[in-house]
């Protein structure tokens, strides 16, 4: 029983991490209709900035704020300088450019910060809570991760559903011409979308790194799982991203914990889950009505 609880809790925490990353993908998809493959490298870059600050003696929280701000800046600059020139062309162009960015940013990190493995500190403890006689696989750090992701999701829901700026961002993403005719400053909205997505990505990068090891490519496997989680949830819905991440985290943890040699089957299992969900609900679990899709 304790084993089941521990495997479940491990899965929930991992799932929240996937959710965090999926949220960033959803955000950029909702606000620009681009799938951003560079998201992982961008998050890794800001995580290394935070690590450099921590190693220079700054507190975790200062580093967190600086990382989020540099994410904001990085997202805006990339949109203006790299994405804007290809935005008018075929949709695929921008996606391919983000793939190129993915590799380029990783290389830049290796040049600036080196490619060594380093541990990344956490603001809270890594020892599990004591329940009765047993310690369970839920740590103060996992609580911080879960709380941070849920708060971010709530903020995003509020932004898109209840604010004018959120509405304007969605409008710019869906129909640039119409939005422009209605007086929305589309260019600014797209920049804002990239910047906000990069902030959420930076947060995800920091949450993922805490209590783990970082190196320039540490986000690689998470990019895949983050995409699976986002697509599971429907790519369009912040709540879907969270649910998708949790489902994936739990399922992979059960596969790893209960299937013989399960640790090797985790990647295959992720693909199977994705296939099954897309066969049953092609738009993902939380897809909005198909009529709205362009």
């Amino acid at each position: 029983m304790q084993y089941f609880v521990n495997v479940t809790l491990t899965g929930l925490t991992e799932g929240m991490v996937y959710s965090a990353f999926a949220l960033a993908l959803v955000l950029i998809w909702r606000s620009t209709r681009i799938v951003n493959f560079a998201q992982g490298s961008m998050a890794a870059a800001t995580t290394f900035i935070a690590l450099a600050l921590i190693q220079a003696g700054q507190s975790y929280w200062v580093a967190l704020i600086v990382a989020l701000l540099s994410g904001l800046l990085l997202g805006a600059i990339i949109e203006r300088v790299v994405i804007r020139p290809v935005e008018g062309g075929p949709e695929l162009n921008a996606v391919i450019v983000t793939l190129g960015l993915f590799v380029a940013i990783q290389a830049a990190i290796a040049i600036v910060f080196g490619s060594a493995f380093q541990s990344f500190p956490t603001p809270f403890g890594l020892e599990g809570f004591q329940v009765g006689d047993n310690r369970i696989a839920l740590t103060p750090n996992s609580v911080w991760v879960i709380a941070a992701v849920l708060v971010t999701m709530a903020l995003l829901v509020v932004l898109f559903r209840f604010t004018r700026i959120g509405l304007a961002m969605r409008a710019s993403a869906f129909g640039q011409e119409v939005a422009r005719l209605l007086g929305v400053r589309v260019g600014r909205m797209l920049t804002l979308g990239w910047a906000l997505a990069a902030v959420v990505g930076s947060l995800a990068g920091l949450l993922i790194a805490g209590g783990e090891f970082v190196y320039p490519a540490y986000m690689d496997s998470l990019i895949v799982f983050g995409f699976v989680a986002a697509v599971l949830g429907g790519l369009d819905s912040p709540i879907g991203a969270i649910v998708g991440g949790l489902i994936l985290g739990l399922a992979l943890s059960y596969v790893s914990g209960y299937v013989e040699r399960g640790s090797a089957l985790v990647n295959v299992a992720a693909l199977v889950i994705l296939m099954v969900v897309l066969l049953v609900r092609p738009g993902g679990l939380f897809a909005s009505s198909t009529a709205r899709r362009a």
Partner: protein, 445 residues
């Protein structure tokens, strides 16, 4: 990708740059006469021998392992300054394969076909080196002293006549660990934490020969999947109070972190590969700022040794390697990985000396088969080299990690693969020759 390419270029430059200094004059080492030198085979000129290697300088396996070639490079630099081998300097080129077998094929191709090395020395990793095993043997390139304890390199010299192992193989290591547990912890419930490949399988096969009935769980992790929560939780659930890990260093750190999280505190025994206390300590270093109060999580863990280690400052080999590192090394401290690289370079020089004044590639192989079993050096127990076996050293001691040092709990044991018995090794530790350079007679001239 770009990062890998850049790192390759940098390391190659460093390697080439390092080997340019040091004169080729004077007949050091084997005491040969440079004037009698000929360009006897590919990679050998009158005054140089070109050797190649592949190591993970970037990526998952880089921590620790990337230091091995820097140790070898320092050793060869000092050797070159002292006159080289038979008046020839060693030109040592190592390239980054990022522990990716596809890349290994690529860089070894480059070493053999473009750089035209005489031999490959110390190529690291089971999955990586497997990818070039056939190529090197079909090309007839000596493939010396693979940095891995797989049985693949030495158990079948008929199929792979050009390949030699070097370190203690994982099966023999498993046997020595198993016997130690059976004798000293007969009531322990043993759990195994295994890398899901040859490394874990060979180790498990060895250990099960002695304590099959004591093993309550065997959990496997896949390198790359950093979530080992389910595996550690399973060991805990099975009631294991003694865990033996056949895993790489980053997974030692991960298993310690996960055990901390679960409040799981068994007696740990990490096989030689995963146990370097300095490296694991560095990996866990940032966590200790505030959250993990004690950085020496490995305190009290058991491990095995087949080489002297940096925490034995009184060992004459360690003192000599320290001198070499200070005089010819680069940045950073002498580490166990650098000692590994130097010790491997030492064996390489023994092989080159035994192969005679003007060796061919086949001479080198024959010389190791004839003389290699008698070589002494920093390695604690003798090699098994002969026409029938290309296996490396066969012995290990067992020690306990206490803080930053280790304390021997069992002297060197000697065994072999299969059902060979385990015996006490009764030989004396070898003495350090002048300048740390071996002095083997040629067996070929």
């Amino acid at each position: 990708m770009t990062a890998i390419a850049a790192a390759t270029a940098a390391s190659t430059l460093a390697a080439c740059g390092g080997s340019d200094d040091g004169g080729g004059d004077g007949g050091g080492g084997g005491g040969g006469d440079a004037s009698a030198n000929e360009a006897s085979d590919i990679g050998i000129t009158e005054d140089s021998i070109k050797l190649g290697a592949h190591f993970p300088l970037t990526g998952v396996a880089a921590p620790g392992y990337s230091e091995i070639p820097t140790g070898a490079d320092a050793y060869f630099d000092c050797l070159n300054e002292a006159g080289g081998v038979n008046g020839r300097t060693i030109d040592y080129i190592y390239r980054d394969d990022a522990y990716n077998p596809t890349t290994t094929s690529q860089v070894v191709n480059q070493l053999v076909l473009e750089d035209e090395v005489f031999a490959i020395v110390g190529g690291l990793g089971t999955p990586t080196h497997s990818a070039v095993l056939d190529f090197l043997n079909s090309e007839g390139v000596p493939d010396l002293f693979v940095s891995s304890g797989s049985l693949l390199w030495g158990a079948d010299p008929e199929t792979n006549p050009y390949t030699f192992g070097w370190q203690t193989d994982y099966e023999s290591e498993g046997k020595i660990i198993g016997e130690y547990i059976a004798e000293n912890f007969p009531d322990a419930k043993v759990g195994l934490f295994l890398q899901d490949d040859d490394f874990g399988e060979d180790g498990e096969a060895g250990i099960r020969q002695y304590i099959d009935d004591q093993i309550v769980a065997a959990e496997r992790y896949t390198p790359g999947n950093t979530n080992v929560g389910p595996q550690i939780a399973a060991l805990q659930a099975a009631g294991a109070d003694f865990v033996v890990g056949f895993n790489v260093p980053s997974y030692t750190a991960l298993s310690q972190l996960t055990a901390l999280q679960l409040g799981y505190d068994p007696q740990w025994f990490y096989s030689n590969v995963g146990s370097d206390p300095t490296l694991v300590g560095n990996l866990l270093n940032n966590f200790s700022q505030g959250t993990v109060s004690d950085a020496s999580l490995l305190d009290g863990a058991l491990t095995t040794d087949y080489l002297p280690t940096v925490d034995e400052p009184d060992n004459p080999w360690v003192q000599e390697f320290q001198r070499i590192w200070d005089e010819c090394g680069g940045d950073g401290e002498l580490t166990n990985y650098r000692i590994y690289g130097m010790a491997q370079a030492y064996t390489t020089v023994q092989a080159l000396q035994a192969a005679g004044q003007n060796p061919t590639r086949d001479d080198l192989i024959e010389a190791i088969e004839i003389a290699g079993g008698d070589w002494e050096g920093p390695v604690l127990a003798p090699f098994r080299y002969s026409e029938e076996s290309h296996m490396g050293t066969a012995g290990m001691s067992i020690s306990r990690i206490t803080g930053d040092t280790t304390e021997q709990v069992e002297p060197v044991q000697l065994t072999d693969i299969g059902d060979a018995p385990i015996e006490d090794f009764d030989g004396e530790p070898a003495e350090v020759p002048e300048n740390g350079i071996p002095n083997e007679e040629s067996v070929m001239d």
